[in-house]
């Protein structure tokens, strides 16, 4: 291990002695600096937590960074191309989404069109001409006890690509034998609907050979504001032929393929689909990049404000530093008399202010950690963003950097003064 040179060690030892000799003054310097460093820590922590939360939300709805999302237009030629190609591939899954109604048959669902339960999108219109007078609402029967949801059928575990948050119950088990009564995992909006409305367990899907009896096994947070349920594709295909799944006339069906960043499946699947005349659109998820541009300006703004508060703290440390040097003229002159170089004298003063800055940073980081814990305990239940939130390391680093900058800026002029004290002061005293 490389050891510090004698000068550094001397500066450190004398600096610590100086701080111990002037504890109250050091404390006052720390108090003046504390708010500035704390402001930097809080801004950085807030920005990092917000960034994490936003990123987590984006990942939940769009996918992890680097995930490739291939949109495949429903086509009756699709057949089993997708499911066959993806079978046994751990880094790719397909998600087929269609509309489903759970509840009484032949009635209008309480959330027609799969709308969120606090909104009403209506059930759509059929238009026979170009003008609004040519349109009439779809007659979907009398209002009844039924809920319309988006049903996403999966060929594998989507959580590899999108971090859905489990709320209650279980997630889909892809390793077991497919059940004839499809297991559903619903999202929070769907849970809201099922809590509000008592509906019979009968599920209708366009093109299905019969009405299904689903089993709801769990609830997840998927960030979607529409009611949605996830189901195993093989459990659904018992009742819904693959041609019906991908029938472009079935209405609202979407097929997405999620692929890992370096998945070889993409090329194979694309070629097979192109050969079958199916159009595909692929995009790579870049949530962080997208988020960074949104947050950078806001972070800069807050950091500038924190910087101003820090400057006030620096002025405090500078003031105390100058007063201390003024008091210690004889000490510094004496140190020069016994052979201490000017540079080391400056180093001693800088070491003191740096140590003060670092101690303040430690105190501010400690306060930040404690404050975040308290906030998390108090409002964590109502604010998921703050539930079990960890103190971001970036905020700790920012606090230390702020402490170092404050120490150097606040100690620079006093250090110059100390180095310039004439040695003859001791002779004239």
């Amino acid at each position: 291990m490389r050891r510090m040179s004698g000068s550094y060690r001397s500066a450190l030892i004398i600096g610590i002695q100086g701080i111990r000799a002037r504890k109250l003054r050091t404390l006052l310097s720390m108090v003046s600096l504390f708010l500035g460093v704390l402001a930097v820590v809080v801004v950085q922590a807030g920005a990092s937590i917000a960034e994490r939360a936003l990123l987590a939300d984006m990942e939940m709805t769009q996918g992890y960074d680097g995930t490739k999302v291939m949109e495949v237009l429903p086509n009756d030629k699709l057949g089993t191309i997708v499911t066959d190609t993806l079978e046994g591939q751990p880094d790719a899954i397909a998600m087929l989404t269609t509309q489903a109604i759970i509840g009484e048959p032949g009635v209008k669902p309480v959330n027609e069109g799969g709308s969120p339960f606090d909104e009403n999108w209506g059930g759509g219109m059929i238009c026979n001409g170009p003008g609004p007078e040519d349109c009439e609402p779809i007659n979907s029967g009398p209002p009844g006890a039924a809920i319309e949801i988006r049903l996403s059928a999966l060929t594998g575990d989507i959580r590899t690509f999108r971090p859905l948050r489990p709320m209650t119950g279980d997630w889909l088990d892809f390793s077991s034998v497919p059940s004839l009564a499809p297991k559903l995992v619903i999202n929070r909006e769907a849970e809201k609907g099922f809590n509000r409305h008592q509906v019979p367990a009968e599920m209708r899907i366009n093109g299905a050979s019969a009405n299904l009896t689903p089993q709801i096994v769990g609830v997840v947070d998927d960030g979607d504001y529409q009611p949605r349920a996830y189901v195993r594709m093989d459990e659904l295909s018992n009742w819904l032929p693959s041609t019906a799944m991908t029938d472009p006339n079935s209405g609202g069906a979407q097929l997405q393929v999620l692929l890992g960043p370096d998945s070889p499946v993409e090329k194979v699947l694309t070629s097979k689909l192109q050969a079958a005349g199916v159009e595909t659109y692929a995009q790579t998820i870049e949530s962080y990049k997208q988020l960074e541009s949104q947050l950078s300006l806001m972070r800069l703004l807050f950091l500038s404000m924190a910087g101003l508060v820090l400057l006030i703290g620096v002025a405090g440390i500078l003031n105390v530093g100058l007063a201390t040097v003024g008091e210690r003229v004889e000490e510094f002159a004496l140190r020069r008399a016994v052979g201490t170089p000017r540079l080391l004298l400056a180093g001693i003063v800088l070491a003191e202010t740096l140590l003060t800055g670092l101690l303040t940073a430690a105190a501010a980081i400690g306060a930040g950690v404690a404050g975040l814990k308290v906030v998390s305990m108090l409002v964590g239940q109502s604010e998921p963003m703050l539930r079990d939130v960890q103190f971001p390391w970036e905020a700790g680093v920012a606090g230390i950097i702020a402490g170092i900058i404050a120490g150097v800026l606040g100690g620079f002029i006093p250090a110059l003064r100390a180095a310039g004290i004439p040695i003859a002061t001791v002779m004239r005293a």
């Binding site: 040179s5 004698g6 000068s7 060690r9 001397s10 500066a11 030892i13 004398i14 002695q17 111990r20 000799a21 004889e330 000490e331 004496l334 140190r335 020069r336 008399a337 016994v338 052979g339 201490t340 170089p341 000017r342 540079l343 080391l344 040695i423 003859a424 001791v426 002779m427 004239r428 005293a429």
Partner: protein, 230 residues
Amino acid sequence: MTEPLIELTGITRILKGQEEPRTILDGVNLTVHRGQSVAIVGRSGSGKSTLLSILGLFDRADEGSYVLAGQDISRLPERKSAKLRSSHFGFVFQRFFLLKHLTAAQNVAMALVNGQGWLPRRQRRARVMEALDQVGIAHLAKNRPVKMSGGEQQRVAIARALVRDPQVLLADEPTGALDTETGTAVIDVLLNATTRGCSLVLVTHDRDHAARMGRTMSLVDGVLTERVPV
């Protein structure tokens, strides 16, 4: 006679203030041999402290040459002067200049923790205790200056000057703040250092103390002359 350690030749120092330039030292010649003790006497304002400042490399002469152990150090840069002050000189002042927040041992160690080389803590402590022992106050190592008498404080200051085994001890009225008896004891300690080959230059007003030195020089209006013992 041993070889000369210090050779000042034609040292002149002129103070250029707002008024007329004032000659403080006027062509001072001084030779000090190894282990020799020299007293410099003179009235206040005669230039004794200025001469000591030049000897201790606190100040620089306007004219003349300063040779230390055969090396001309008349025009030494500050960095090298600091190194020489640390390695060759020990200083004792009228006011003891002890740092009151440090113990006696830490005050002595100040001369070792000065960026001029590094001693591990154990060696540093041994050197400090040896120096305190030389001046007879090793038992007060952990005491702070406020708990010590004037004589004890001056001994700590002398231990600080001796801890690096200097070749020259420069003392500026070290007994000025002490009573006669304590002052005599302090001079004993200083003279004791010369028995180990360390030269001593003592600035004093006290004739008795001056008489105990090997040589006595008188500084009058910036001119240094040797006083021949009667």
